[in-house]
Amino acid sequence: MTAERAWAILADVADPEIPVLSVLDLGIVRAVEESADSQRVTVTLTPTYSGCPATEVIEHDVRTALASAYDEVEVKVQLSPAWTTDWLSAAGRDKLLGFGIVPPSGGAQPDGRPSLPILDPGAPAACPQCGSPEVEEIAGFGSTPCKALWRCVRCREPFDYFKAH
């Protein structure tokens, strides 16, 4: 195992908008390479959403965290293949639910043309508060690019749903 030190540091770099998730839980760290003398590290990140304001903050936070342990830190951005919610770790999904955000269900959309006019963004299996499966969408867009707003028909509580993407 190489670059263990870097991976350990990255496990503590949080998503600025959903702080229960680390960048590793998000699945945006595509590669970590350490130089032979362990003084330099290169991290490759894939952004979650095109316009997500957290992206630049994450790059900054990754750089800052690694600078404490390495002389030289390089952060590369790789667009392709595009990030998908399938890359969220299992631990990340559990953390999301504990935080009151229902993790994406169903697969990400297929690579081909989505069926239109309506595509399937998945649906939360159950209310994160009371567990009722009776839930309905309030709005397809929420407080951050990754979320939609839903509510529970039984307990009436609104909640965030992390959209399948």
Partner: protein, 233 residues
């Protein structure tokens, strides 16, 4: 061209756009949507339109920074140097006008991103891989609203007809191969008429020919950066 060959020619489809046209189209469409923030009909729509504007801005940035210095391109070009389709720059009308325009632009971008999924250029392909999924959400939103308002009350139907009337001449620039059929599906479900494509030969925006609305939009979007070049915040 003889009247016979003219009659036999298929409805005009718009040429497939260049990277410049799409980059500027996303940027200008984003700006118009952002004008709704804090004044949309409901709080959920405020959030939705803001989110969509942000996605479009991100897509524009991905392409603009591939073409050059994104800030230079966004803030220091004049209207005649922009290549966006003119439909993107038209002022926001009522909410119905906004969601109908959004549907037209989303359907255009959908065709573009799908073609670019196989582009040889890594950056273009990378932007498209991300954008194709974001755009599907936008398209879902605009389609749902067009259907709800078109097939809604007499008042909402009347307003959607008016919006269709105002916007349709401008689709000549964005009606790429397949666009008309995609849009017709939604219009039919909305109980709105499906006009035939405008037959005029156009190249307006891609040649830098714009309505006066673009200069007005830029005077707002560029003013801060031009007044304080190099400002950081």
């Amino acid at each position: 061209m003889s009247p016979t060959s003219d009659a036999a020619s298929p409805a005009a489809t718009a040429p497939f756009p260049s990277i410049e046209v799409v980059a500027d189209g996303c940027l200008i469409a984003s700006h118009r949507l952002s004008e709704w923030v804090s004044s949309a009909p409901t709080m959920e729509e405020d959030v939705a339109l803001g989110n969509i504007a942000l996605d479009l801005l991100g897509q524009a940035r991905g392409l603009l920074s591939h073409l050059g210095d994104e800030d230079q391109l966004a803030y220091f070009r004049d209207a005649t140097e922009f290549r966006n389709p003119t439909i993107c720059e038209l002022p926001n009308g009522d909410f119905g006008h906004t969601v109908l325009r959004a549907l037209f632009v989303d359907a255009w971008l959908e065709r573009v991103w799908h073609v670019w999924l196989a582009d040889a250029d890594d950056v273009v392909r990378g932007v498209a891989e991300k954008a194709v999924k974001e755009n599907a959400y936008h398209r879902r939103h605009s389609s749902a609203w067009v259907i709800r308002l078109g097939d809604g009350t007499d008042e909402s139907h009347r307003r959607m007809l008016a919006a269709l009337d105002q916007l349709w001449p401008y689709v000549a620039e964005i009606a790429v191969e397949g666009w008309a059929a995609d849009v017709a599906t939604v219009l039919v479900e909305s109980t709105l008429p499906v006009p035939s494509l405008p037959k005029t030969e156009v190249e307006w925006g891609s040649r830098g020919q714009h309505t006066a609305y673009l200069a007005e939009l830029l005077s707002e979007s560029q003013s801060l950066t031009r007044e304080f070049p190099g400002a950081k915040w």
